[in-house]
Symmetry: C2
Subunit: 157 residues, 2 copies
DNA sequence: CAGTATCCCAAGCGATACTG
DNA sequence: CAGTATCGCTTGGGATACTG
């Protein structure tokens, strides 16, 4: 990372990774707008229905419709019919494996926001399913050993 | 998380966390637009100067100016003067501790994008500073023990 | 309930030009 | 280099109404 204490002037055009080659940039292009992240957040919370999302987020129907389409096209959500006993057929938007994997960046973002923006007790925590132990997003080596953020750096290429 | 295999219909209005109480929502409101995430990405890569960012990202000056202002107002960046020997004074945008902490969500996003969108070898990796060992974003308990995403869930309140 | 269709308007993008 | 100023224009947001 670039830290305040080692931040010299950069080299112009030194961005080592072209936008098209950068997963972060690709992700930002898919998710980077006012509503998309929040729609995915709904899905992570288990909200799967159009009107539920609309009510929760308070966004216009047309916008929600558009975002759901984008996300299904991208493979983050699938639209799936279902029928509750005695009810007529409905459908729901559920996360694909690709969508489920978005939980990690979004959890990290949530914990960042709780720490640096809200600064009060988090409204939602992530816990281990079986034990209820609180979980934090972090970096780890392939053997699982955790590594502090400040001991990490980019390696290009 | 909400998984495909346990995703029943949700309860209307069941979103347990109000947008104003959710760090993820707050973060999304700050970072959720076309360019802001990419500007932070530049800063993480160590690009600190206005024109470097403009060149790398190819966005209009006015937009970049606006984003840098937003991010400094939010406390993610600070604008700092410096002078190289024999040069006139310049300034640079460097990450605050709050900004540095954004590395984790963005790394997670990058790894997600590399895995699910680009699907080729990542252009940039995160490695441990001393050893060069590759790092991955993940969840861990407070004792550092890693936990799989699928063994995690939200706990509200 | 789950959308699509329409319309209007504001925000924001992108280009260009200008200033310290 | 590092911005601010201006401007035309498109995008997309928000309200409302309509359909299966």
């Amino acid at each position: 990372m670039a830290y305040s204490d080692d931040a010299g002037p950069d080299k112009l055009g030194a961005t080592k990774v072209d936008l098209g080659d950068c997963g972060m940039a690709q992700a930002a292009m898919l998710l980077g707008d006012r509503w998309t992240l929040l729609v995915v957040r709904e899905a992570l919370y288990g909200v799967t229905r159009f009107d539920s999302m609309k009510t929760d987020l308070g966004l216009p129907r047309s916008v929600l419709s558009n975002r759901l389409k984008r996300l299904t096209d991208a493979g983050v959500l699938i639209k799936r019919p279902y029928r509750e006993p005695g009810q007529r057929a409905r459908h729901q938007y559920v996360l694909t494996p690709m969508g489920v994997d978005l939980a990690l960046p979004l959890i990290a973002l949530m914990q960042w926001g709780d720490k640096h923006i809200r600064k009060t007790a988090p409204a939602a925590a992530i816990v281990e399913r079986r034990t209820g132990a609180p979980l934090m997003a972090g970096l780890a080596k392939s053997d699982g050993a955790p590594v502090e953020l400040r001991n990490a750096q980019f390696r290009i290429g």
